[in-house]
């Protein structure tokens, strides 16, 4: 048993945890950061390449705040929304400080805040300047930011423990007073006395019961074979079990809104790897095209010009029976994709033209992928893909009628994306929701203080990152809601509040 005494303990070393740890350290607090896995970075080790930063200018911040609060149908907590938006400018000096490089990708003029063109995200959520983080090799920038934050933290007196999850948080007279951590391999216990704890333990993508109970989805493997409907493949681990949620709830913390951040994906061998950047084939690009989507009953369920909008597709697929959708091409469109090229670009794989789609489908079949189909007739496609035959034939005829008329009588889709589904062979992809991580569950206020059902803070208990970001939305939609700047903005805020609480920093009004 080791005994320690620090001002602040941080639980988790992802985007939010390390940002809070470094920020608190620089205010002069003594900080210990406990990481359950053998390394730093949490879920940002595997994804984020860009970040949003709203200018440190009240006009931009007010426009961004109103756009987001309105867009959540006012379900989001305005204090939490403000904490994110008003602290994103700090990302740039933070990256300079820890030595991570970035470059401006697109500046957003004031009049365009929340009103940009749609692209892959709802216009109301495009609220700040877009920066691209410079990664190393074929990797993604956020892994470097996390690594450099850890190096800075350790070099400036921060105590960093890997393989050592926090197993309990202690209180005295209702106030946080310490934690107990335990090394995964050696079993060594660390009894830490502290004044404040910042819980930054991320999502609970590996806890099947929590996913079913709180989000209503069934966890499944990468092949979506066990009748499940959400896979957490982007972030291949088995450690995300909501430890922070359980401890905060045990201490009386209320349950906040919960959802899934990720986006729609064709599962199964030959399509997805460990990290989303590596394209085994061009299904990711084919799935983003604004052509013809149906559900299990063969019915269209969305204006397909939203196909590249991950919130629109994630939420729409989650509403369909079996929580799955199919995108179907005929041979003319297959040829169009190979000659003219795709209408929508998928921002990760830029492909002018697609290549030998027939060959790619044959390869997937050879690898045993059960979610890509190539058939000569629609009847055969219905049988093989498990789509209601009568529904499919009726709705393909209806859609072709509208294509010939050059208007979409059902969902007012832009006629230029109306491609009939007529000439075999037919190509179809079955698409599920892929969770990158779960979002939300720990209820906090705008100071990142963990609050109970009565809105009262639990003194000394703070939270930041995926585990609390549901409060930004209230009842989070499915998909397309993740933003690396959340983790950073909330990390800064949690550190500020904790340092004000322990009395080493004044609150700036």
């Amino acid at each position: 048993m080791q005994n320690l005494k620090v001002d602040i303990v941080v639980m988790g070393s992802g985007g939010a945890g390390l940002t809070a740890a470094v920020t608190a350290l620089d205010y002069g607090a003594s900080v210990a950061c406990f990481e359950k896995r053998p390394f730093q970075a949490g879920s940002v080790s595997n994804c984020a390449i860009g970040v949003t930063a709203v200018k440190n200018d009240p006009r931009y911040q007010a426009a961004a705040f109103n756009s987001i609060f309105n867009y959540t149908n006012y379900n989001g907590d305005p204090g939490v929304i403000k904490a994110w938006i008003n602290n994103t400018w700090r990302i740039l000096p933070f990256m300079d400080k820890v030595g991570a490089k970035y470059k401006l990708r697109a500046e957003l003029p004031l009049e365009k805040v929340g009103k940009g063109e749609a692209g892959g995200f709802p216009p109301q959520t495009r609220i700040g300047d877009a920066y691209y983080m410079i990664g190393r090799g074929k990797g993604h920038g956020s892994a470097i930011v996390a690594l450099q934050s850890r190096r800075y933290f350790e070099a400036h007196g921060g105590q960093f423990f890997v393989d050592t999850p926090i197993v309990d948080i202690f209180t005295e007279g209702g106030k946080v007073c310490g934690v107990l951590a335990k090394h995964n391999k050696t079993g060594e216990e660390y009894k830490v006395e502290c004044k404040a704890v910042i819980v930054a333990s991320g999502g609970f993508g590996n806890d099947r019961e929590m996913i079913k109970k709180y989000i209503g989805h069934n966890y499944t493997d990468n092949n979506c074979s066990n009748g499940g409907d959400v896979l957490f493949n982007f972030f291949p681990t088995e450690t995300m079990t909501g430890d922070g949620h359980k401890l905060c709830w045990k201490l009386g913390g209320a349950k906040g809104g919960m959802g899934i951040n990720g986006h729609n994906l064709v599962p199964g061998p030959g399509i997805i790897g460990n990290t989303p950047w590596i394209a085994y084939d061009e299904t990711r690009v084919m799935e983003e095209q604004p052509y013809f989507w149906v559900n299990k009953n063969g019915e269209r369920f969305v204006d397909e010009s939203q196909s590249s909008n991950h919130m629109a597709m994630g939420t729409s697929i989650a509403r369909q029976p079996g929580k799955m959708g199919y995108i179907i091409y005929d041979d003319d469109t297959r040829e169009y994709l190979e000659t003219h090229g795709p209408d929508f670009e998928y921002f990760i794989f830029q492909a002018e033209h697609l290549h030998d789609i027939k060959g790619q489908f044959e390869r997937l079949a050879k690898l045993g992928n059960e979610h890509a189909f190539m058939t000569d007739t629609l009847e055969e496609l219905a049988d093989k893909a498990g789509i209601d035959k009568e529904g499919l034939l009726k709705n393909v005829a209806r859609y072709n009628y509208y294509c010939d008329q050059g208007r979409d009588g059902d969902f007012s889709k832009d006629p230029k994306f109306m491609r009939p589904v007529r000439k075999g062979p037919f190509y179809a992809l079955r698409v599920f929701n892929a969770g990158y991580s779960t979002v939300g569950g720990i209820k906090v206020n705008g100071r990142m203080e963990v609050i109970n059902d009565d809105g009262k803070p639990i003194p000394g208990l703070y939270s930041a990152g995926d585990c609390m970001v549901g409060e930004l939305w209230g009842n989070p939609p499915v998909g397309g809601i993740g933003n690396y700047s959340h983790a950073l903005g909330f990390g800064f805020t949690a550190a500020d509040s904790a340092c004000e609480y322990i009395g080493i920093k004044e609150e700036e009004l």
Binding site: N46, R136, K138, G139, A143, I144, T237, T275
Partner: protein
């Protein structure tokens, strides 16, 4: 040529994605396994590729 992986590797599994004949992401053990103690000559070029491509530069020649 021998390879080693530093402790700050982020287990993103990209090395397995790009160089499956050299690396395997061992999810239950939460680490990346190198498939050869001594890298066969025909795979040395790929090993150098992995060193360059690693997201956090955690792959080194031992």
């Amino acid at each position: 040529m021998k390879l080693e992986i530093k402790d700050y590797c982020v287990r993103c599994g990209m090395c397995e994605d790009i160089y499956p004949d050299l690396f395997h992401l061992n999810v239950p053990e939460d680490r990346v396994d190198i498939k050869f103690d001594e890298i066969p000559p025909e795979l040395e070029e790929k090993a150098l590729g992995a060193i360059a491509d690693c997201a956090v530069g955690a792959i080194f020649k031992k």
